[in-house]
């Protein structure tokens, strides 16, 4: 019993919060102004608790597995959710169904926790669905916007399609090996064609969730339609969680197929970086822009994943942490501006620096970090991914990846150019940012500046293996 409490600590805390929210909702309710701080505090508590009592262990006969490394991954996600809750304070206060919003978001988070900790394909599938369906509901949260519902519909349909193929893959795997346990699968893999086929089917589900080209088409529409809080959740938390479990699945479960997935990752990483960048280049809407740029970032994550050793795991986790700070900061600024002015186009950002220097610097810092320009942490993140990916000394691929960094820099510069250089008769008026938003932005900025320079963070991740 004690072990159950300890090992499932993160999941249980989330569950407690979910139930708390349910009680409040079912009870006499509470005004947003009172409820939001409570939620934010409980998320903070959740984050803090996540750092203690982390041990390694199995539950339910290998169905659930956790370790300090996995706990760290969950902490990253916790941090992200906490920051999202802070950054979108303005929007959340106005939303009609605050409790439901967090109910859904935390349910998805719970799903992701189970996903990361899953020890067999069944739990994996269930958790994946739990992590997806609430998000589809969340995507529909802008009730008065048609594009919001459209995005949600596209998401749920595509994801059902992807789930179907995933299940097909799982059943094939079970058919070949007679097991669904992560621990047994690598031992029973027979290297047959059918097994490879099953793996590719299974992988397509990851590709779909991670928006890997050519399985990415839903991304832009959903990102654009959803409220920014949801978009940032999708592009950071959801991507991070899937990337984490992808590491486990590839490195542990499908280790015998390493040659297959190495090549697969190379092809898809190249395609993802290239197509993501090319699409991002000509986006006008900031959300769509970040959606495509996050596709390109996923391509980079795949470069790190292709490593196949602990270095790969560490570099991906480290990158997700940095990506979380950077992307959330960018989305935070967009959220503030969109909430106050309803402007989301890059052209609207012209001359922003004149009126909103603080927001401009945060956004610029975030974008430079996403582009991987030092001294921001994004530089270190990208560099370690490349270091991981370059372990096989495939120079051609490395050059391709770095050239993509240049293309991405080009479009990130487009935004900074609008902010700092372009002239505008009517720039966005000065916006007063509320304290929680400011706090979250400063946390993100600090993360962007410091995580890279504090090398011990990477070392710490390395020690968690």
């Amino acid at each position: 019993m004690n072990e159950l409490l300890l090992l499932m600590k993160s999941e249980l805390v989330i569950t407690v919060i979910i139930f708390g929210l349910l009680f409040i909702k079912v009870g006499k309710g509470m005004s947003n102004d009172r409820l939001l701080p409570i939620i934010q505090l409980s998320l903070l508590a959740n984050l803090i608790i996540g750092f203690f009592f982390n041990t390694e262990g199995n539950l339910f006969g290998d169905m659930f597995y956790t370790s300090p490394l996995i706990a760290f991954e969950k902490n990253i996600l916790n941090l992200g959710v906490y920051l999202i809750a802070l950054l979108n304070t303005d929007w959340l206060k106005k939303t009609a169904n605050l409790a439901e919003f967090f109910l859904l978001m935390l349910s998805a988070l719970l799903g992701m926790f189970c996903l990361i900790s899953s020890g067999n394909l069944l739990i994996f599938y269930l958790a994946l669905e739990l992590a997806t369906i609430p998000i589809a509901a969340l995507a529909n949260f802008d009730l008065d916007k048609k594009s919001s519902s459209e995005g949600a519909m596209k998401m749920i349909l595509s994801s059902a399609f992807s789930s179907g193929i995933l299940l097909f893959g799982i059943s094939l795997i079970y058919g070949v090996t007679g097991t669904i346990s992560f621990n047994e699968l690598p031992l029973l893999a027979d290297g047959s064609t059918l097994y490879t086929l099953a793996f590719i089917f299974l992988f397509s589900a990851f590709a779909f969730k991670l928006s890997i080209v050519p399985f990415h088409f839903w991304t832009a529409d959903v990102y654009e339609g959803s409220p920014i809080a949801v978009t940032s959740f999708l592009s950071v938390i959801s991507k991070g969680a899937i990337a984490f479990i992808l590491l486990t699945v590839l490195y542990k479960v499908f280790l015998p197929l390493q040659q297959v997935w190495y090549l697969l990752l190379m092809i898809l990483a190249a395609a993802t970086m290239l197509v993501g960048n090319l699409f991002a280049m000509r986006q006008q809407n900031m959300k769509r822009f970040l959606a495509f740029s996050s596709i390109a970032q996923v391509g980079f994550i795949l470069v790190g994943v292709s490593n196949g050793t602990e270095m790969g795991i560490s570099s991906v986790i480290y990158f997700v942490l940095i990506y979380l700070f950077s992307n959330l900061a960018a989305f935070g600024v967009i959220a503030v501006i969109s909430e106050n002015t309803h402007k989301e186009n890059i052209n609207d950002y012209k001359g922003l620096y004149q009126t909103n220097p603080f927001l401009s610097w945060i956004l610029a810092l975030a974008l430079f970090s996403l582009a991987g320009v030092p001294p921001t942490a994004g530089f270190f993140g990208k560099l370690f991914l490349l270091t991981a990916g370059g372990a096989k000394a495939n120079f051609g691929f490395m050059i391709f990846a770095t050239l993509n960094m240049i293309v991405s820099l080009y479009y990130y510069l487009r935004v900074t150019r609008a902010i700092f250089m372009d002239k505008n008769e009517k720039p966005i008026a000065t916006i007063k940012t509320s304290a929680p938003v400011k706090l979250a932005m400063i946390i993100c900025a600090a993360g962007i500046v410091l995580v890279g320079l504090m090398g011990w963070i990477f070392d710490y991740i390395q020690t968690l293996h």
Binding site: L386, G390, T402
Partner: protein
């Protein structure tokens, strides 16, 4: 002496600038900070000479090491040899001159100086780093400041030029990055310059890695044909920005070519030396001829930079000790000279509001100080003895001539011929600007240099002349470093 001061001082100054209240405060703090940098650089010079005089023969002095990421074997590793000391001196001089000439920047003064100091920080960090990762980090740190400096405070097609400059430099960085990671894996998970220099890398690997690193750093130093960011970037940057770009940034590339590409991959250097010589000879002549056709003073200086930097690349390709010393001298001389040239062009532009040679004339009569400096710089550029340009180019030619086969001889002669073309364009530009009657009646009322401009010019001139008259001290600094590199090439 603690070389970390070179990181701490600019950083502190930059932070102080951020916290200051008025524009005047910003300027004064930046000036004090940059003057302290000169003092520090001179102290370093003396400390270094004292150590060497005391027979401390270690390759790098004042070494310090701190772990950054132990699991990847990445350390902060700092230290200096004669080459870095002289580069640091160059940086300090250009920084203070840049701060001085920007005294009248009114638009976002605080941000301007902050970015300027960030650039300086990057340059210092680059020159004292002995770890490839850290070196690369500092190389890249200047990307954002460069972009914003050109894009916000620049002139002309500034956005386009800023974009082009940053993207092309990033292209160079991308190649460096790949080459660097290649070294890391081949050298057994090692980024440390000193440790890597102990490792013998098989020639086949060097064949792949050398072009990546050399071309990568080469982009920074305007290696033909990847030089097109130079004219556009320099001409649209604000004065101090151009000074930094030409005076310091391009030197980062040259230093990298030498310290990283050639030093760590001597076999690769030998394999590609002829191509380097070919490209740089082309750059020298081609740059000179293209300069001849320019009408805009900034373009003249920018294109002539391509030609001048070509000398140092040419000398690197020659691989002899004298040539490498010459390459380094040329880098320093060119750094001082172009920085001053851009400063003077900025001063003229501030007054006449044109940079077109044809629209000027007779400026000597209204601004004797500025035009005199322009003359001196021009003469330095065309290699007049007594100024640094002559010393550097002479060393390059002597070093190049030491290779006695036909190919090297032809390349050397071709490069030497460019001096004639240089004389044509420099003299034409300078005389048209300064001499003759005052063509535009608006110019008659113009004022000569202000105190800040005078000091900026004097500080850089001091460098140019002290190298020109007494090159011995510089040679003492550079030659031992060059010897280590050339010995490694020769396999000693």
């Amino acid at each position: 002496m603690n070389v970390l001061l070179f990181l701490g001082l600019p950083l502190l100054t930059a932070l102080a600038v951020l916290l200051s209240r008025s524009k005047q405060q910003v300027r004064v703090i930046a000036l004090i900070g940059s003057l302290l940098q000169i003092v520090l650089a001179l102290l370093l010079l003396f400390a270094f000479r004292a150590e060497r005089a005391g027979n401390n023969t270690a390759q790098f002095l004042f070494e310090q090491q701190y772990p950054l990421i132990q699991s990847l074997n990445i350390h902060f590793h700092f230290g200096v040899d004669g080459i870095s000391v002289s580069m640091i001196l160059l940086t300090a001089l250009v920084v203070v001159a840049g701060v001085l000439v920007s005294w009248n920047v009114e638009k976002m003064t605080k941000e301007f100086y902050f970015l300027l100091l960030l650039l300086a920080l990057g340059a210092y960090g680059f020159f004292i780093s002995l770890n490839l990762f850290i070196l690369f980090f500092f190389l890249e740190i200047s990307v954002i400041p460069k972009y914003l400096l050109i894009g916000i405070w620049g002139s002309g097609k500034k956005e386009y030029c800023a974009n082009k400059l940053v993207l092309m430099l990033m292209f160079g960085s991308a190649l460096i990055l790949v080459g660097m990671l290649g070294l890391y894996f081949i050298g057994g998970h090692e980024f440390d310059l000193v440790n890597l220099s102990q490792i013998i890398i098989e020639p086949a690997r060097q064949t792949i890695l050398f072009p990546l690193l050399f071309v990568g750093f080469g982009v920074f130093t305007a290696l033909f044909p990847l030089h097109t960011w130079v004219p556009d970037g320099h001409s649209s940057a604000p004065t101090a920005g151009s000074m930094f770009l030409a005076g310091i940034s391009m030197k980062l590339g040259g230093y990298g070519c030498l310290r990283v590409a050639i030093y760590l991959l001597p076999e690769g250097a030998k394999q590609y030396a002829d191509i380097i010589i070919l490209l740089s000879s082309i750059a020298i002549l081609y740059g000179a001829f293209v300069t001849m056709m320019q009408r805009d003073l900034k373009y003249i200086n920018a294109y002539s930079s391509i030609s001048h930097v070509g000398f140092s690349l040419l000398a690197m390709g020659m691989l002899t000790q004298t040539a490498i010393t010459g390459a380094l001298m040329q880098m320093i001389s060119h750094g001082l000279m172009t920085a001053l040239f851009f400063a003077v062009i900025g001063m003229i532009y501030d007054r006449t509001h044109t940079r077109m040679v044809d629209e000027m004339g007779g400026l000597m009569k209204v601004m004797p100080f500025i035009t005199t400096v322009l003359f001196i710089v021009g003469l330095c550029s065309l290699g007049l003895p007594g100024l640094s340009g002559f010393v550097a180019e002479m060393t390059v030619f002597v070093g190049s001539w030491q290779n006695d086969d036909l190919f090297h001889r032809i390349a050397t002669i071709a490069a030497a011929m460019s001096i004639v073309v240089t004389a044509v364009y420099i003299l034409r530009a300078v005389t048209r600007t300064a001499m003759g009657p005052i063509t535009n009646s608006d110019f008659a009322e113009l004022k000569d240099a202000h105190w800040n401009e005078k000091w900026a010019a004097i500080i850089l001139l001091a460098g140019i002349i002290s190298i020109g008259i007494a090159p011995g001290w510089l040679n003492d600094l550079l030659a031992p470093g060059a010897e280590i590199i050339s010995n490694r090439i020769a396999g000693k």
